[in-house]
Symmetry: C2
């Protein structure tokens, strides 16, 4: 099924079940007021939501209304936890080359992962507001999962069952700040200002055989101002999968329901697949011509991220944020 949150009812929004073709939605206050509430009580809520989804899909839901993506917040408008990995080593190498940093020690045995900001995500069609173009705003096209309660010590083998939902993600990054912030060792603070997620979150069974319980075998499309940037496959060249990321995060603590786990900017070794962020494109330009010619994002630029199924239909809806001045 597909779930979303309307920008109404408070900071957590209002849960809606959305039809497979993303055109219609229905409020479900009798099941859960918010997606956070539903995920905390998933065993009870999921079957009830699935019934509404089935009725909606067969056109048998009289309370349904036409979905306007502008009215949608991120599926979780805020979360108690957002953890983001960096599992595409090709991206890690290029991003580090671009800022003059070495690869971290143990990067092949120990997933790289940071505690991300989660107190307020922008909606899939909201403006991305930054104070200054000189901070080097970049996008990162990613796929993220949402887990239920994960006990401390959960193994990778046990982790797949905790994955309840998947979403696309634009993990906006201020590249100029990463150069001074990351050498301090304490992770991202000013350099990752906020993120946006796809209009809907989907359950794993919605993805069919493309989802194998730990990775999703489909390309993630990104474009800037309508110009295609890339279409890297999110399963390919993934050094650690989602289940490994969950196990890594849960080694010394439990993860509470509604925790979002990303895997970092998608990047394939095949250069034909293009880019899922500007940093890699700029790194390639520097390598080829001695200097980067593609600018960072500017006020007014639009970044679009989407994923299509085998039939060409949008699975998650499109993230489409315009950059705006604070």
């Amino acid at each position: 099924m597909k779930l979303a949150s309307l920008k109404e009812g408070g900071r957590d929004g209002t849960l809606v079940v959305v039809s497979r073709d993303l055109s219609r939605g229905v409020r479900v206050p009798q099941i859960a007021a918010t997606l956070q509430q539903a995920i905390e009580d998933w065993d009870r809520a999921a079957p009830a939501l699935a019934e509404v989804y089935a009725a909606l899909t067969r056109g048998d839901e009289p309370r349904s209304f036409a979905i306007d993506p502008q009215q949608l917040a991120s599926p979780l408008p805020r979360a108690f936890q957002f953890l983001d990995g960096s599992v595409y080593l090709h991206h890690m190498e290029k991003a580090r080359k671009a800022r003059g940093a070495d690869m971290p020690p143990n990067y092949k045995t120990d997933p790289l992962m940071y505690q991300g900001l989660s107190d307020r995500f922008i909606g899939p069609r909201d403006p991305m507001v930054v104070p200054d173009e000189s901070l080097g705003l970049d996008y990162e096209a990613e796929l993220a999962v949402v887990v239920g309660d994960v006990p401390m010590g959960t193994s990778a083998a046990q982790a797949s069952g905790h994955i309840k939902l998947l979403m696309l993600l634009n993990d906006f990054t201020l590249r100029t700040i990463t150069r001074t912030e990351l050498p301090k060792g304490f992770g991202f603070m000013q350099a990752k200002p906020t993120s946006s997620f796809s209009p809907v979150a989907v359950t794993p069974e919605e993805l069919g055989a493309a989802w194998d319980g730990e990775k999703l075998d489909l390309p993630i499309l990104s474009s800037i101002n309508g110009q295609p940037m890339g279409r890297a496959n999110t399963a390919r060249d993934m050094f650690f999968t989602y289940r490994a990321l969950i196990a890594h995060a849960a080694r010394t603590r439990s993860l509470s329901a509604g925790t979002i786990i990303g895997a970092g900017a998608v990047s394939n070794l095949d250069p034909e697949t293009g880019y899922a962020c500007l940093a890699e494109k700029r790194a390639d330009e520097e390598l080829a011509a001695g200097r980067a010619t593609t600018p960072w994002l500017r006020f007014g630029d639009r970044v679009r991220i989407e994923m299509l199924d085998a039939g060409g239909a949008s699975i998650f809806g499109a993230i489409d944020n315009a950059v705006a001045k604070a």
Copy 2:
């Protein structure tokens, strides 16, 4: 006034107003169900809560009951954001010496701060559960503030007015993991498993002249198994104050109501004030005798953190967690 959360009513607990002497409490469902709800609507909620507090303090609140600290969760049992600084340079120097790391660049112009775990804090009297003693569990006695909504670009001069509450904090740290995790640059993931907060959060006016709008001129007491460890003054030797930390965090994003901001393990230059964590004590032992003799925390150890007013009364109540095996 003083506010706390009972372990009832769900993951966010149930808001209670607590008497100045910490002995009595009263539920306030007519004002706000949870502390998170109150802080999101502070201008309306705070005066109503203050009326209850005044009635409770003069013994004129018939619905009040005796507070049992075991029944209390952390004042915010979970939060959408926890940011922790490291502003006592003396601690930063010793902690880094202990793990063989250099001081970060720009540490005197740019506050060191990380995005911390906030999806589930343990209560002030709950067990602190860790998988293994070999991970080097340490405590850090800290003071934290809770802010209302802070707009992006808020200056340090504007920041003080956003501070709504103060709490004590034990920021548990797995020192063995910091050695491999921090060099990766992405901050704390496994090394900061969860934190506990004092039984009550207090409003700034409760602190009188000791609070000047940016720092608190009182010692923070810590002990292990009843043995006093330290009594460093939280205002002294503070290189950046809370208002500077808020401005730093809000440079590229807004901070949402209920964001908790800590300032790191308290540490004074005066050696008579002792320690607010084991890492500094062990660093001193290594310097003096070539090796650390004080062990990290072991299963069964109890860590107590408290702050007394000029008259010797506990302001926040005591954090008192026993270490337990997962």
